[in-house]
């Protein structure tokens, strides 16, 4: 057995179903081993390495299992960097296997050599440059452990061609050697009791649910906790679905483009309990003003999140499932009926709304209808921008693992390939990729991949012929000087869809067509389809809290006065 074959055997032992790959010289031995080992692992032949990483990421977000990428050295490997940072920022377990030049040529500018170990360092949870063939099994098993435990994240393995080609005797289940790696399980019981006590004293408490709750598979427990306490729940962009969005205690997404009612509740609460969220700048806005007088409690699996942005009154270091389970035991129904009623009133007074007219097609209307037709049960992946925020507002998630969106990195081009990964991981479900015309064009070469494997991904391209979110900022903060946002030269997306076998194109141009066309698209399952919705060009996303501002500065609709330039992060 050679190193590459041992690698494939170990991937099998880890339960890998798919490898998202793109070959090249330095990776030939590994691709060869996919044949010589007769493995059941299926190679998904992508069209660009970035797409492979987002597919693995989407697979991981939809299934909870690490996604695996296989690429060649040099440019093949550097094309994975965007996918690595996307997974790193959102704590998603992926394993990236890179071919590398032969060991004696390392550092000598060999053909297609890049210092991938060095280039990728800030974008990974951990990484390896393999120097001994017999180390391969240990490194593979360590990689899966590191990627998927604690706060998950990407792991990269750089595999020189001579190492993968060499024959050796292998121990396929060697002892792991990770003396410095630890991750927490239970939280400290005294701290958890303190949290229960703080909750019992609160009159206007809020639970803030983040991605950590999804990753820890704590969705049922968080529902139990909220119901036990009778406490309203807001959710981050990535926490969507951890708490059912149709629950009467659910206030939806908070933050920059969160719902008016969630943000009103955040502004007024006297206790905010973040579970698996990191007070990101899209949520906290102005850190000094954010929930200024409220008690702040923070539960996180990553100790370095404590006090990173905001100093909590209580910090609990632990795994969300285990901590919530213990906490439930200490909690009783809170005597906070007036607050629950007030939150319900916020919902009534500040609902999500959009303009409906027979002549104007809006992103919201298309998304709202898609949500209705799929009863909020579809897996939805998104790109980044206005359509992403509208999707977060109008596409409900009834469970975790159904909402795939690049939150931290904000990677355009993520949505469609991520949907391919999800469609492979959960073939029985409806998978919708919500994209803008800008983001879709960044990775639309993967339509070949979706068509090749006849994956019935529904790609909704909300086409306003602009980079809409940037245009919105230029309109609001830069006197409408539009620079670099006009997507003039867009292709005919329907024609593009139909130039691949098994792929179909649909177009919506007016509100009266929405339901009919979306229903047709849902009925087409012989391959992917692109649904181009030609929407209003200059709509803006509201509610909006300008970057770096306090929650009292929330705009529920277009401002009548000129706004100051935002002070927060981009």
């Amino acid at each position: 057995m050679n190193g590459a074959e041992a690698l494939i055997k170990c991937l099998e032992m880890q339960g890998v179903e798919y490898i998202f790959g793109y070959s090249g010289g330095a990776a030939i031995p590994i691709f060869d081993a996919l044949i010589t080992t007769n493995t059941k692992i299926k190679l998904i032949q992508v069209r660009h390495e970035q797409g492979a990483t987002h597919m693995a990421d989407g697979y991981a977000r939809a299934t909870g299992k690490p996604g695996v990428v296989l690429v060649t050295s040099g440019p093949g490997a550097t094309n994975t960097i965007t996918g690595l940072i996307t997974a790193q920022m959102d704590s998603v377990p992926i394993i990236v296997l890179c071919g590398q030049t032969i060991s004696p040529m390392l550092g000598k500018d060999a053909f297609q050599e890049a210092d991938v170990f060095g280039i990728s360092l800030p974008a990974v949870k951990h990484s390896y440059l393999v120097s001994e063939t017999t180390d391969i099994p240990r490194i593979v098993h360590e990689s899966f452990l590191v990627a998927s435990t604690g706060r998950p994240g990407p792991v990269l393995i750089d595999l020189p061609k001579d190492i993968t080609s060499a024959e050796a005797e292998f121990d396929l289940s060697p002892e792991l050697d990770l003396p410095g790696y630890t991750f927490p399980k239970n939280g400290d019981s005294d701290t958890i009791k303190k949290i229960a006590k703080a909750l019992s004293k609160a009159r206007k408490p809020l639970l803030l649910v983040g991605h950590g709750v999804v990753l820890s598979k704590a969705d049922e427990l968080i529902t139990k906790l909220a119901e036990r306490l009778n406490c309203p729940v807001v959710s981050t962009l990535l926490g969507k679905g951890a708490f059912p969005e149709n629950h009467n205690l659910a206030l939806g997404m908070l933050g920059m483009h969160g719902t008016g009612y969630a943000n009103k509740a955040v502004y007024e609460c006297d206790l905010i309990f973040s579970l698996g969220s990191r007070w990101d700048d899209r949520i906290a806005g102005n850190l000094e003003e954010f929930c200024k007088d409220a008690v702040k409690i923070h539960l996180d699996i990553d100790a370095s999140e404590e006090g990173k942005l905001l100093q909590p009154d209580i910090f609990c270091h632990g795994d969300a499932s285990l901590v919530i389970e213990e906490l439930i035991g200490y909690c009783n129904k809170l005597d906070i009926d007036p607050w629950v009623k007030k939150c319900a009133k916020f919902k009534k007074d500040f609902p999500l709304k959009y303009e409906q007219s027979p002549d104007k097609l809006t992103m919201q209307e298309v998304l709202d209808e898609f949500n209705t037709l799929t009863e909020g049960q579809a897996i939805v992946s998104t790109d980044v921008g206005q359509h992403q925020m509208f999707a977060a507002q109008f596409m409900n998630s009834s469970r975790g693992f159904n909402w795939l969106s690049s939150g931290g990195a904000g990677t355009m081009g993520f949505g469609f390939p991520a949907a391919i990964g999800a469609a492979l991981g959960r073939p029985e479900e409806i998978v919708i990729a919500v994209c803008g015309d800008g983001g879709f064009q960044m990775t639309m070469c993967e339509l070949a991949t979706a068509a090749l494997y006849k994956l019935p991904v529904k790609i909704l391209v909300l086409n306003n012929s602009y980079l809409g979110m940037v245009r919105q900022w230029q309109e609001l903060f830069f006197d409408n000087r539009l620079s670099g946002v006009d997507m003039e030269g867009n292709p005919d997306f329907v024609k593009f869809a139909e130039c691949y076998e098994h792929s179909k194109g649909f177009r919506i141009t007016k509100p009266s067509e929405v339901k009919k066309v979306l229903s047709e698209a849902l009925a087409y399952n012989d391959g992917p389809c692109v649904i181009e919705a030609v929407v209003a060009k200059t709509d803006n996303v509201y509610p909006m809290i300008p970057s770096g501002a306090g929650y009292d500065k929330m705009l529920l609709e277009a401002p009548t006065e000129k706004l100051d330039k935002p002070t927060g992060s981009t």
């Binding site: 060095g118 003396p179 410095g180 404590e306």
Partner: protein
């Protein structure tokens, strides 16, 4: 190394390629400048010890310490100050020195409990050991002469008594 905001942390890491880059990145990403960095194999050669002094311009080092502890190859990471640890540094100083000023320079050497480890007609090499302040003080006195070269090892440190370094 004179700055009062300077912090020293001792990090025990797994002795593997790349670990220094991972540690360095935690500092550079936040714009921290490393003043001194000493890396050497531990008593058990599977591990290595890093002693790092850095100036912080945005508060304390607690965030850095947590980020370091999180690295897969870091065993532990502890911040030390002068009261709970022994700190030492060694410097080699080559000073221009001839028959006219040799006696004066040797007096300084004697005063600082240091020694000469090389001597010729034109220069002397001084070896001085102690805490960093002592070396700084000696260098101030040597400013009156011509310091040709200076090599400092950077700070190494060990926790006192039963404390772990």
């Amino acid at each position: 190394m004179k700055n009062s905001n300077s912090h020293t942390i001792s990090i025990m890491v797994v002795n593997k390629p790349g670990v220094l880059m991972r540690v360095g990145q935690v500092f550079s990403r936040r714009g921290f400048n490393i003043d001194s960095l000493v890396v050497s194999s531990g008593f058990d050669s599977k591990y290595a010890r890093m002693t790092i002094s850095a100036q912080s311009f945005c508060g304390d080092l607690s965030q850095i310490k947590k980020q370091l502890s999180k690295l897969v190859d870091v065993m532990h990471c502890i911040e030390h100050d002068n009261t709970n640890s022994i700190t030492k540094e060694l410097a080699l100083i080559k000073v221009a020195c001839d028959v006219t000023n040799r006696t004066e320079i040797l007096q300084i050497v004697e005063h600082f409990d240091s020694k000469t480890v090389g001597l010729n007609k034109k220069s002397v090499i001084i070896e001085v050991t102690g805490n960093s302040d002592k070396i700084d003080a000696m260098l101030v006195l040597l400013e009156d002469y011509k310091v040709i070269e200076l090599v400092r090892t950077g700070k190494v440190l060990m926790a006192r008594g039963g404390e772990e370094t």
